[in-house]
Symmetry: D2
Subunit: 478 residues, 4 copies
């Protein structure tokens, strides 16, 4: 059966035994750890909405590969409609969870591999595409949540992988065996790596001669031997652990560092192994898809921010302030710009040789460039509208304190008709959306840094035809 | 035959005898006046490209109404494909002419009328839609270029039309006769009114009780009795008249003020007459379509600006300057943002009761808002890259002068391999694209002012659902 | 003796017994609480630098009032030189502590009161100025740190103070006695209220008829009976309590809510009592001074952010990336803009009737408006340059863990010559400067919201003379 | 007598016989040519205001050199007060003429030479400073208007001067004679070269070994033999020639190209001759002064733009539109930012070895960087507020036409109480300020390109101390 319920998803995670550390201690039961659980819940939402009538049509479709209904997060796009659905599903989910649902990177990896493994095979007569297809069937049949292992630690960024003093600064093959390969390295910012069943690894950059050991792609369960998840610190990470002042009462995000301490990968899960010239293509395909994913989910997050801001205007008694309304329009404009450019990137997509559809990369990167600059501005506008309590609202525990709680409830009241609890809750949500680091930093660095988006836009634009157009008008022959 | 050649189009204009004034004098032959002709040539390009193999498929389609091939500029969109084609045709033409081709407003009016006349008839049992359809057949069968008369002079903007001291500040019906109506008023910024065969008039704003005489829409030939075209001054208008320093050697733009000095309109050309509550809908449909048109043509104009900037880098010897390349990327980003949002607005369009397709207005206005701010920035970047000669390059006539021409040619040389003439020509083109007022001011005010776009975005956005999404996450019940 | 050493300052705080709550519990010893202490240390820096030879000349001056050397933070400006010194002292300290030193608001209050109490006395024959002067001598003789209690909770912002359903939403006089007054209300965002000896209260807004009870200003020790400090939550507040991952290893900021639960104020400390028409002047003088303070300290904070960003470029191996250098220039530009406008506001200051010097408000607000928008951009640039670890770096405790610490140290290494510990520390500092809420939110809301700055700029600008200049050029007589 | 009246200034220009070309023809009488005269009038305003009581104190001071009252435009700053006066004089004049008054570049050159000639003499024992001082006395005694010849044509910008295929692409010494030198080359964008008595030439860039012939500075009368002024085309240049639709009814700007076709310079007017290592210092001093000048005059121009915008709101009936007021605030903010940073740069200036005072370059460049970006935005805001007639208002001659004039006057009316003529005049002024190329392009390229300002800011900033500050806070020893 290709679709898991939310309960089945949680249960399936409980069956895994990953090695995880947080704040210097081993985490034995990741699913029940409140910090990690809030992230798992966000991914669980991708299963939950597939059961909800109002979302089901958008998120469930039939896979041509296994001829069964599947969750779209397991389906490389095989039509324009699929590309467009990616954006709409992500916007809906971004809005539903108000943070990162953490399931897009896996699909973005699957989509990139479904194009590039085919092209590698064409060039070299290898059989990566068949291997990948078998893995994809597994993913679809079991409604697998997958995580993309892309970003290497990189060491000294001025040096190529094979020129690093420590050769493990980019994940690499350290041994080839009869039944598989052994890899070593680390992948960082692994959003939701403990919310997933499988980790899919691809290179983080274009590679050249000498980098053959780094040209490696594979998939492996999240609890494979030798794989260590170290959950990094985020700005608000103690809130879930303390169980108070959470803001987003349902969902959160976490981003482990993944250490591959000599992990064995069987050949049937290896999708690239030494073909250096395809590393760049693989990561750029992934990145393009991932930038498109962001255009959806981040516009959905701005939707929440707009809703929170306008609710706060209701609560503060500032609903009629003209300058606030102007700021709301500025926020809507930003959401729709991300969304519009990503939709256009999807509608203008094209079929690739393997049958997978690929987006227009210039338009997708145009969207991401806006995200990298304008999400910060949308947040600033939300904070401007909402007021200074985003900085320093007393704790839920202060409100519960018998000595000061009552005074705080008296003084934190806004408009008379609104319960003070609601105003406090909305401020907390705004704090979360404005200042939770794991999610807000991805506005800038998710899917590559802004400079990567810029370089892509330039590279993919046909400059010569524009020069010709200008010369014709100027009356210049050549 | 539904398609005119460029030659037939010019010939057909020569048959008209409009009353036109420029710089205080009557212009007897508008087609041969070099100032006006450069604008006519831009509209002529919409006929010319329909004959060119590389554009024909994009611009020529079959009208379901007359079942013949027509130029898309005569076809209200009847499918998503048609909506998308509008954007692509406009981008192609914007790039081809490097300024305004002046034929979009007519189509935008036809498109708006094809929706609203149907709705009026539904409400009132009138027969505007049939009249309009007959007119549309005429337009299609004769490949008519039409001009939209929208913007009234408005008098005191704090007063409604019927409250103005001078009742003619908005165009109005001054007499109703058996065979038609008589109208009085003025429409301004009438881009290309002398490049067109027909003028289509609609109200400029929403109207209310007491404004019945202002709720009027009709079509009338550009040389009808009582209609006066006064060609306004633009910044570079003497260049075409002098025949030197033109910059864009092929095309230009002009924007007359149109005075309706008691013009008679026969009933079969009247499409709205007193139904005040539809005035707002008519102008907002027109504006939405027109903002979408801009997203195409203005991204095409930025294409030319990018081409001109990079050519100038080649000519100046600055091709390798990293900061210039960053500015080019900023320009591309702006072009693709306009284009992406408008494409998305088109793909997300919906069928209206009359069968015409209408765009997503939020996305179309998102594009126009960017235009209103970012075209100015794109121009600034082009000027920054190109250098100070945009301000004060000596005249072509100085270059031809026997005493100083040779010296100027010596000193205006850039990179050795580039003829000095080419560098001079490209600077002139850049001056034209940066500082010609008729076109650049439309970046801001074309299709309504930026505030109109903002108000539209707010009005068309579902704020309540965003509030609900935020409240759910904050844990607020209602 | 007018100057306290840092040690004497800490000792003097320990003598106070304020009522403080944090996270639902009473804090008995605020000075030794690590969360609060990090803030106290920042204020302590204002005493420390007065002992350091390289800063002493800038920060220590002679008070004309007591004719002794004083710390500038106790001196209302009595010359242009004093106004300028305020900006330079704040920039130096902002850079020295990398966050808010928390001592400016007290001085800003003293400065405003030194102008307005004089003006009130002139009008009403009251003796506020003498009372204030006595208090000021006390402040100067004892090198008092003072805190400004300005921002009321405001309840429903669409209602005036006396129209609120709960009359305590703005701090007010509830009783007048022979020896003093009793006040009730709450002041929020009270930066460093536990780092101070005295709390100085002024109204938060202009007041009108009916608001007489709210027109109150006074000073009172921070541990007065009935006064409760509730330390709000900030994004990184657990870091100091945990003693790890602090980022800024020396300083931090905290912002309590202050509840005045019927606090008695003796007459000699009351500086305004019912003169409603001076409330607006008092708060606008304070705000102007405070916006000027920000222009100093926040440009100093950007200095730290620039230093951190360039250090991170050294550590990551990206020092030669041209696009990073452009971002550094963008950061410098922002720092210097804040600083330049504030310096100009100071140099263009003017003597007020009381002898205190007051800044040019338009220039000071111009600086603050930039802060409200551009600090967020400076932060974004720092994060862009530094990379994704701002979001999710593993904890110091993970680095110390015997099982994973060694692996983390291996993989977190950047450039070979830089110890991994340094790279980790610098990332933590960047996280702190980018995402610590108490400080970053003050970029927007400190000294009033951006709209308040805008309104001030408009109100203080002579528009009519600009209109006359334009009309003269246009050839319009009047 | 050191001060000329306006009439004496005009008379003195009439005594000169420069060789000038415009639009391919020799201009025999430049002073009476209406195109050039409108520029001369702007410079004349610098003489006129010195006679006006309200400006005299600001603009007239006593020269320590000749011990007589002089116009500040002949006085290198010898105090902080002089530096500050530069900014205020320029703001006042920018506002008075609404365009460029064209007299600042001469003073900026004099100021730079007064520093650098002294330093050259110190190094080489030359006598440039004495020669310069003699020239300066001549300038002061005769109230000379001087023009700075800085910008060479540059040929291929990727090549150094001595590597150009044509060696004349940078102005150079072609012959050294007993009594002087002969120079050849061209200087471009020579704002107001025919409004001046003297041309002062300095190199346009830093020079190196091999460039000795290009390291030349001198002063020479504007009508010296061999010097040719070619007045370039500007966007609105025909308006003055036609005598209608001028907008700014009093003043304008023009920017000739100056060709030095083997011009002889006597030794007493040569201020640098081969000392290559001082070329960079000379141009960077000049540029810094000139960027400071801009901060004054351009904020004054924004004053006019604000006045014009608000007048247009009065005329259009949109005075109460909240969004327009917000845009006005945005314009004020920009004016005050330019002004504030430049004032600060002046107040923070320092005495140089020669006795001349030099500004803080980082702050001056911070101002200019804002100008390069924000003037375009201020213009955009003005156009947004004012409406579409900036693009295409009918000509004054149309208004005078007996057939259509009356109709135009009827329809161009705004608010009833405002004469239609005034509305038309104000639209023309706005067109002029928005779209006149000679002035608007200088917002970007005047005083060097934006990239030059950026490079300067980076070079002049002490980055190391910022790194140290960050490291200290992070707890990093070194």
């Amino acid at each position: 059966m290709a679709l898991k319920t939310k309960a089945e998803y949680i249960e399936s995670l409980q069956a895994l035994k990953p090695i995880a550390y947080m704040f210097g201690k081993r985490v034995e039961n990741v699913v029940d750890n409140p910090r990690i659980r809030s992230g798992i819940e966000a991914t669980a939402a991708t299963y939950e909405v597939a059961e909800m009538p109002q979302y089901r049509d958008l998120i469930v479709t039939t896979s041509p590969l296994i001829n069964e209904p599947v969750n779209r997060f397991t389906l490389p796009p095989s039509s324009i409609e699929d590309l467009v659905a990616r954006v709409k599903v992500n916007r809906g989910l971004g809005r539903y969870v108000g943070t990162c649902h953490q399931r897009c990177t896996g699909l973005d990896c699957l989509s990139a591999l479904s194009i590039v493994t085919y092209d590698v095979d064409k060039r070299y007569g290898t059989s990566y595409y068949d291997r990948f297809t078998e893995f994809l069937k597994h993913v679809q049949r079991n409604d697998i949540a997958a995580n993309a292992g892309v970003t290497d630690v990189k060491g000294d960024r001025s040096l190529a992988p094979h020129d690093q003093p420590d050769k493990d600064m980019y994940l690499r093959i350290v041994e080839k065996k009869e039944d598989g390969i052994v890899v070593r390295g680390a992948k960082v910012h692994q959003t939701g790596s403990l919310s997933c069943h499988e980790i899919i690894v691809i290179p983080t950059r274009a590679l050249g001669k000498g980098d053959e050991d780094y040209a490696v792609s594979f998939a492996i369960p999240a609890d494979v031997k030798g794989l260590i998840h170290v959950i990094g610190r985020s700005t608000l990470d103690m809130r879930e652990l303390e169980g108070c002042d959470m803001g987003n009462t349902l969902y959160s995000k976490y981003c482990p560092t993944l250490i591959f301490d000599d992990v064995f990968i069987p050949w049937e899960r290896v999708f690239l192994c030494g073909e250096v010239e395809f590393a760049g293509d693989l990561v750029s395909r992934f990145s393009a898809f991932h930038r498109q994913s962001h255009g959806g989910c981040k516009s959905g997050k701005i939707d929440c921010m707009i809703g929170a801001s306008m609710t706060m205007m209701d609560y503060n008694g500032t609903s009629t302030a003209g300058h606030h309304k102007q700021k709301i329009i500025d926020m809507i404009h930003r959401a729709e710009t991300l969304y519009g450019c990503c939709l256009a990137a999807s509608y203008e997509g094209r079929r690739q040789p393997s049958g997978t559809y690929f987006i227009d990369t210039v338009l997708a990167n145009a969207s991401k460039l806006h995200e990298g600059k304008e999400l910060a501005e949308a947040i600033r506008l939300m904070v401007d509208i909402s007021g200074g309590f985003v900085a320093d609202l007393p704790s839920d525990r202060d409100f519960e304190n018998p000595e000061v709680g009552k005074l705080l409830k008296k003084y934190m009241k806004g408009v008379d008709s609104v319960p003070v609890e609601n105003r406090v809750k909305m401020y907390r949500l705004i704090e979360k959306m404005a200042l939770e680091s794991a999610d807000t930093i991805s506005d800038i660095h998710g899917g590559g840094s802004p400079e990567a988006h810029r370089v892509t836009i330039f590279r993919e634009t046909d400059i010569e035809s524009k020069k010709r157009a200008a010369k014709r008008l100027a009356g210049i022959d050549k």
